[in-house]
Symmetry: D2
Subunit: 439 residues, 4 copies
C-alpha cells in the first residue's frame, strides 16, 4: 500500500483494528449459536457481547505482544479477549480452527471492499454518462492504428467507455458474490467438532453465503477469480487513461486533464501541462494486474491447506483493493473535469484534405457499377496524392478532376459523400443500446 494512492474508507477496512473487530464478531456469533445448541453456556456469548457493547478499544500493540510469544495470531487475539472478558471467554472458538475466523474475515473484508468499488464504479459511470451526453454529437475523428479513419463523436467514445465499465461492474458484482462465503467447519472441514448450524448462523449474521465444502480453508479459486476480475477492471482503466493521454498530446490536444491554478507541470519547463493523472493511472493498472498472478498461484494449496496463500494475501488483499479504489476515484475526477476542445477536434479532422471520406466514395463507385478492385484503385491513386501533400490538396478536388471517377459518379453525387452528418445517423441507436431507450 502506497499512502498517496489510498483513500480512508477503503484503507480502514484493511487496518488491524477492523480485522480484529470482524474476528470478534465471527467468534461471538459462533459462541451465541453454540450456546443455543447447548454446546457451551448461553452466558458465554452474553459475556462477550456485553463487553463488546462497552465499545472497547482494540489494543493492537497488546495483541501483537502476545503474538510475539505465541507466534500465532488468532491464539494471541483470543488470549487478549479472554484477558478482558474473563472466564466466560474460554467457551469461545469451541470446535473451530483459526482458518474459520481468518477466512471468513477475509471474505467480509473483500465483500466490504467490493461494495466500495461498486460505488466507485457507479460514480465513474455517472461521470462518463454525463460527459457522453454532453458530447453526444461533438464530431471528432475516429482513429484506427493511430491514423485518421472516419468521423465519430466524442460522446460515442465515452459511450464505449460506459459500456465497458458497466461490464466491469457486472463482473465485480459476480466476483463479490463468489467471494462472500463463510466457513466454520473445523480442523479439516468435516464439522467433526462443530455443528454446521453454527456456520449457517454466522454466515447469515455476517451477510455471507455458506461455503458448501471447505477444507479448513475457503478454496482459493474464489480469491483467484476475485483478483483476476480486479485485473480486468484495471485493464479498462488503462484503456480510458491511454485514450486521454493520447488526446492530450501536443499535436492532438483534443482534451486535457484539468489543470488547477498553482499547479506546476515541470520544474524546468513552465509551459508544460502534462497528463500526469492518467499516466499515473496507467502505472496503477499495471500493479493491479500484477496482483492477480500470485492469487492464481495460490489456488493449488497442498492437501486440505497450506499457508502459502497467507503472506500473498497480506499484500494483495489491501494493495489491490486500495489501489483500485483510488484509481477508480481518480479516473472519475479526470472524466468529470476533463477539458474538451471541440474546435480542435474539428481542426484535426479537417487536416487530412477530406481523406476520411474516401470509403464513402469507394462505396459509391462500386454501387455505380465499378468493380471493387477498380474502385479501390481509383480512390487510392487520388488519396495517395492528398496524403503526400500533407493536407495541401483536397480529395474532393482531385476526384472531380479524375475523368475515370467522374465517368462513374457525377460531381454532385461525389460532393454528397463528403457530408459529416452522414456518419452520425446511428449515434442515437448506439446511445439507446448503451444507456437504455430513454437516453
Amino acid at each position: 500500500m502506497v499512502p498517496r494512492y489510498a483513500r480512508p474508507a477503503m484503507t480502514a477496512i484493511w487496518e488491524p483494528e477492523a480485522r480484529y473487530r470482524i474476528w470478534f464478531e465471527v467468534e461471538a456469533h459462533a459462541t451465541e449459536k453454540l450456546g443455543a445448541l447447548g454446546v457451551v453456556p448461553e452466558s458465554a456469548a452474553r459475556a462477550l457481547w456485553d463487553w463488546w457493547a462497552t465499545d472497547p478499544v482494540i489494543d493492537v500493540p497488546a495483541i501483537d505482544a502476545i503474538e510475539a510469544v505465541a507466534k500465532h495470531d488468532v491464539i494471541a487475539f483470543l488470549t487478549w479477549v479472554a484477558d478482558n472478558v474473563g472466564e466466560q471467554a474460554r467457551f469461545m472458538h469451541q470446535g473451530m480452527t483459526s482458518s474459520d475466523v481468518l477466512d471468513t474475515t477475509l471474505a467480509v473484508q473483500l465483500a466490504r471492499s467490493s461494495d466500495i468499488l461498486l460505488e466507485d464504479l457507479d460514480q465513474l459511470l455517472a461521470a462518463i454518462r454525463r460527459r457522453a451526453e454532453e458530447h453526444k454529437y461533438t464530431p471528432t475523428i475516429g482513429r484506427s492504428h493511430g491514423i485518421h479513419a472516419e468521423p465519430v463523436t466524442f460522446g460515442l467514445k465515452l459511450a464505449q467507455a460506459y459500456a465497458e465499465f458497466d461490464r466491469c461492474k457486472k463482473r465485480l458484482a459476480a466476483a463479490r458474490e463468489e467471494i462472500a462465503t463463510c466457513a466454520i467447519s473445523g480442523a479439516v472441514g468435516t464439522f467433526a467438532n462443530i455443528d454446521p448450524a453454527v456456520e449457517e448462523y454466522v454466515a447469515e449474521k455476517m451477510g455471507l453465503a455458506v461455503e458448501p465444502v471447505s477444507t479448513q480453508v475457503i478454496p482459493r479459486d474464489r480469491h483467484a477469480m476475485f483478483f483476476a476480475t480486479l485485473a480486468v477492471i484495471a485493464g479498462s482503466i488503462e484503456r480510458l487513461a491511454v485514450e486521454i493521454r493520447h488526446l492530450q498530446r501536443t499535436e492532438v490536444l483534443e482534451a486535457e486533464e484539468y489543470f488547477s491554478p498553482g499547479q506546476k507541470g515541470s520544474s524546468a519547463m513552465p509551459h508544460k501541462r502534462n497528463p500526469i493523472l492518467t499516466e499515473n493511472l496507467t502505472g496503477q493498472a499495471r500493479m493491479i494486474r500484477a496482483y492477480a498472478l500470485p492469487a492464481l498461484e495460490n489456488v493449488a494449496l497442498w492437501h486440505e491447506r497450506d499457508i502459502s496463500h497467507s503472506s500473498v494475501e497480506r499484500f494483495i488483499g489491501p494493495d489491490a483493493c486500495i489501489t483500485l479504489d483510488f484509481a477508480l476515484a481518480r479516473l472519475t475526477g479526470v472524466v468529470d473535469k476533463l477539458l474538451v476542445y471541440p474546435e480542435r477536434m474539428r481542426k484535426n479532422m479537417d487536416r487530412m484534405g477530406g481523406l476520411i471520406h474516401s470509403q464513402r466514395v469507394l462505396l459509391a463507385l462500386t454501387q455505380a457499377g465499378v468493380s471493387r478492385e477498380d474502385a479501390y484503385r481509383l480512390v487510392q491513386r487520388n488519396a495517395m496524392k492528398v496524403w503526400e501533400s500533407d493536407g495541401a490538396l483536397m480529395l474532393l478536388d482531385l476526384l472531380k478532376a479524375d475523368p475515370e471517377v467522374t465517368a462513374a459518379l457525377p460531381v454532385d453525387e461525389l460532393e454528397d459523400r463528403f457530408d459529416l452528418e452522414y456518419h452520425f445517423k446511428h449515434v442515437d441507436t448506439i446511445f439507446a443500446r448503451v444507456f437504455g431507450e430513454a437516453a
Copy 2:
C-alpha cells in the same frame, strides 16, 4: 500449440479452413441482409450461397498467395471468393470493415471452444462425482501444511474438487456469454455505411449477441475476462494435479495414476511409477495462466483500435483453448482410472500414535471444566512425547497415564475421543450441499 497436447475437435476450430468458413458465413449472411434492405441485389447472396452449397474446398495456399501480395488477409480472402463466385461477389463486404469479419469470427471460435470446454468440464465433473461417491466413506487423513491433522474421507477430497470445478463451469459459462458477440458496425463502429440491422441479422444467424457499441473492434475487456477465466480454471486443474502428485509420493502412496502394461517409468530405474500425467498437467496449468497476461495487456488499444492484439490472439486463441481442452480431458482420465489404496490410507493415518485425535481430547477437557490454556498444555505435553517417538508411543496410553488428565476426564470418556466414525457424521451433509439432496 504443441501437437502432443492437442485434441482434434478443438484443434479443428482453430485451423485456417475453419476460420475461412466462418468468414464466409459472416459475409454471406451480411450480404443476404444487405440484399433484403435493398442495398445490394438479392442475387448477390444467392450466388454466394449457391456456390457454398457445392461444398467448395477452401484453397488455403491460394488465399495465402494472394495475401502475400495484398498484405491483407481479408482482402485476400474476398478476392479468392470473387475468383470463384464471379461478378456477384463484388457486393460482398459492402460498408463493412475487416474487423467486422475478424472479430465476429473470433467470437464464434471462442464460443465453440467454450462449448467443448463446457463438455470437458461435464465429463470431469462426472468422473469426480463417481469416484467421490465410491469413496464417500473411505477414511484418510486430512493434512494441513503437509502435516497430519484430523481424519477426512477420500470422498470429501473429491467433493471439494467437484464443487471447485462446478464453480469453474459457471465461470466459463459466464465468460462464454460475454465473449459471444457480433460486431458489424463498419470502419469506426458508427454504422455510417451499414445498417445496424445487418449486425442484428448476422448475430442471430451465427448464434451471437449484438455488441452494443464497438469501435471497429469488439472491446478487448471481453477477451481479457475470457482468458482470465481460463487461467482460474487452470489453477483448479493444478490443485487437483498437485493433490494426486502428493498422494503418489513413495512415502504416502495413497493413490496412483493408472500404470498401463508396457509402460516404462524410467529408462534407468525400472521400478519407477511416476505421476507424470499430473506433473504434465501442472506445467500446462502454468502455460494457460500465462496466456491471460497478454490478454489483459490487450485491453488498452489505442483510440478506436490498433492491431497489437491480433498477434497475441493468434497465439493465445488456439494455444489456451487447445491446451485447456487437452488438460481437462487428461485430468478426467486420471481421475477416472485413479488407483486408490484405502489400506494404505488407513496405515498412514495410524502411524501417528493417535495424535490426530488430540483436538477432541482438548475439547473434552475444556468441556470438563479445564481452562483452555491448561487443556492445551496437558494435551501438548503428551502429544509431543508421541511425536518424538515417531509412532512408537500411543497418545491414548500416555493420556491414561497422566493423572492431571484423568483427574478431569475418566478413562472411558478418553477412549471415546479416539473413535474415527465421529469425524464422518457430517459427510452426508456436505455431499448433499455439493451434489444435491439426492446424493
Copy 3:
C-alpha cells in the same frame, strides 16, 4: 509457434529431427568416452558413428510409433537407433538417465537459438546505428508525457535505442553463457553409474560448460534467467515499436513504416497507411514477456526433479525463441526502411510558438538575478497565453512585451534563448559515449 511469425533457421532448431540429431550426438559422444574408459567396448561408439556417417534419415514417425507403446521418448529413440545400428547399440546410454540427454539437448538448442538472436541483435544494432548517424543532427521535438518539451535530434532517439539494444545484447550473451551447460550425471546426479569424465567429454564436444551440480536435471533457475532475459529484450522491442507508432500518428507523422506498392492498408479505407508492423511487434512483445512467467514457476521442482517443467518448455522453448527471432528481424527491417520526414519534424516543433524555449528563458532570468519563483511566474504567465492561443501567439513576442521580463533581460539576450543549435552542442559527446570515440 505461429508459422507467420517464424523464420526457417530458428524454426529448424526446434523441429523433432534437429532434436533427435542432438540426442544422437550426445549419446554417441558419451559412448565414445565410456569406451575410452573401458566401461563399454570401443567398438560401440564406432558402430554408432559409422552409421551416423551414412547420414541416415531420422524417421520421426517410426520413433513416434515406438513411443506410443513405450510411453517414453528417450527409450523410443534408443530403440529406434538400436534397430538401425544393431547389437553394438546396447552399450549406449550406460549409466545415463533420460534427463542427461534431454537437458543437455535443450541447452544446445537454447545456445544455438541464442547465437541466432545475438546475430539478430547485431543486425538490428547496425541498422539503428546507420539511421542514427544519418539523422545525427536532424532536429525534432523531444516529448515528455507526450507533450512537447525541448529539441532533440532524431539521431539521439536512435542512439538511445542503440544503447538499449546493446545492453540487451550483453544480457543475452550472459544468459547464453548461463544456459549452455551439460549434465551427464546419472539417475539423481551422483555419477554413481557414470564417470564425471563422460560429462566433461560430452560438454567439450557439444560446446557446453559442465554443470557443477545437477540433480538428474539441470537446475531451472538457469532457464528462468534465460527466459526472463528474453522478456526484457521484448520490453525494449516494444519501446521502439511504440515510439514509431507514435511518430506515425496522423497528427505527428514524423516517420512512417515503409509502405510497399500493392499494399492495402484497409479493406474499407484506401487512404490508410498504418503502422501495422510495429503494432504487430507490440503484441509479440507481450507474448515473449508472458513466456517468462511459467519459466519462473518452473524453478521450484520437487526434490531432485519432477517433470512439470517439461510441458512448459515444449511451448516456450520454441515459441519464445522463434517469436523473438522474428520480432528482432522485423524490427530491423522497420528501422532499416523507416521513412523519416525531417520537414514535418520541424513543422511540428514550430507549432508551439516557441514554448519549447521557455526553460532557457527561465534560466536566463534566474542568472540575471530574478528569484526562481518569480522567474517561473514570469515565464509561466506568458507561456500560458501562447499555449491557449494554440500556436497563434509567439512566446518571444510576448516576452519582449512584458516589462517585468525585459527589466531583467535585454531583448537581444532574450532572442539568444530561442536558438535551436544551442540544444545540440553535446550530441557529439553522447554519440561518442554510445558508439565509441570514432562515431
Copy 4:
C-alpha cells in the same frame, strides 16, 4: 510493504527521509560542480553543505504541505530547502530536471538495497555451506517425481542449493551494476542547459556510473532487468522452501523447521508442528515474482518519457527489495537451525525393499551380456513384486531366486550391487566443483 515482512535496515532506505537525503546530496554535488564550472557562484554549494553540516531534521510533513499546493514533489522539496538555506539556494537545480534527481536517487536506493541483498545472500550461502559440510555424507534417498530413485546425501541437496544461490548472487551483482547509473542530462537528455561534467561529478560522488544516454529518464530496461533478476532469486527461494516443506511432511519427516518452546502450531490441534516459515516464503516468492511484471511493462515509456513508471516504482521499489531481504534472512534462519533427522532418512530409504538399487542390477546384467530389453524385463518383473508388497519383499531375495537372473549374474555379484557407499564415490568431486578445491 507489509510491516511483518520488513527489516529495519532495508526499510530505512525506502523511507521518505532517506529519499530526501539522497535528493539533497545529488543537488548539492551538482551545485558544487556548477560552481566549479562558473555557472553558479561557488558560495551556493558552500551554503548548502554548511546547512547540511548542521544535520538538519528532514521535515517531511512540511515538504508534503508544500507539495499539496505545488503538486510537484521536487519543486516542493527545493522550496523547503530554500526556506531553510536562504537566498543561495536559488542556484540549486540549474539546468536540471526533476527526473535527474528522481532517477539518480532511485539508482542509489536500488544500489544500496542490492548491497544489503548481496550480504543477505552471503549469509544464506554461509549457512547452506555449513550445513552441507555437516551432512556431506548423510545418506538420504534422492527422489524424482516424488518417487524414490537412488541414494544421494543430504549434503548434496544443500550443495545444489549453494550453487543455485551462488548463481543468484552473480546475477544480482550484474543487476546492481546495471542499475547503478547517474543521469543529470536536463530536460530531454541533451545536456542543453547543463554540462555533462556535472553528471560525471555527481556520478562519482554518489558511487554510480554515468548513464551514456538518457532521455530525461534513465531507460527502464535497466529496472526491468533488475526486478526480473529479483524474480529469479525468488524462484530459487521457493525451490529450497518447497524442498523443506516436503521433507517435513508427516510421512517423510526427514527435516523440520526449528520449533521454539512456547510456539503453538495450531489453535485446535496441539500436536501440530508445521513448516510455516517455508510456506510463508513460498507466498513471498510469488509476490516478488509478480513485481517483475509491471517493471517489464514500464520499459515502453512514450517518447522521451512519460511518468507511468513512477506509480509502479513507488510500489515495487520498496516492496520487492524489502520482501526479498526479509525472505533471504528468513530462509537463512531456517537453514541455519533446520532440524535434520538422519535416522529417519535411513528408515525411509530402506522402506522400498531395495528397489533403489534396481538400476545397478540392470547395468550389471547388460554388462554381463544380457540385452538391454531383456535386462529391463528381468529387473522390472521382480521390482514390480517388491513394489506391490509395499516393502514386505526384498528385491535382492527375489533376484537371487530368479534363475534367469542368476544365470547371468552370480549371487555375490548381485549382492555387490546393493552397497550404499557405491553411490557416494563422487560426492567429493561435486563438493570441489561447488565449494572449490579446498572444500
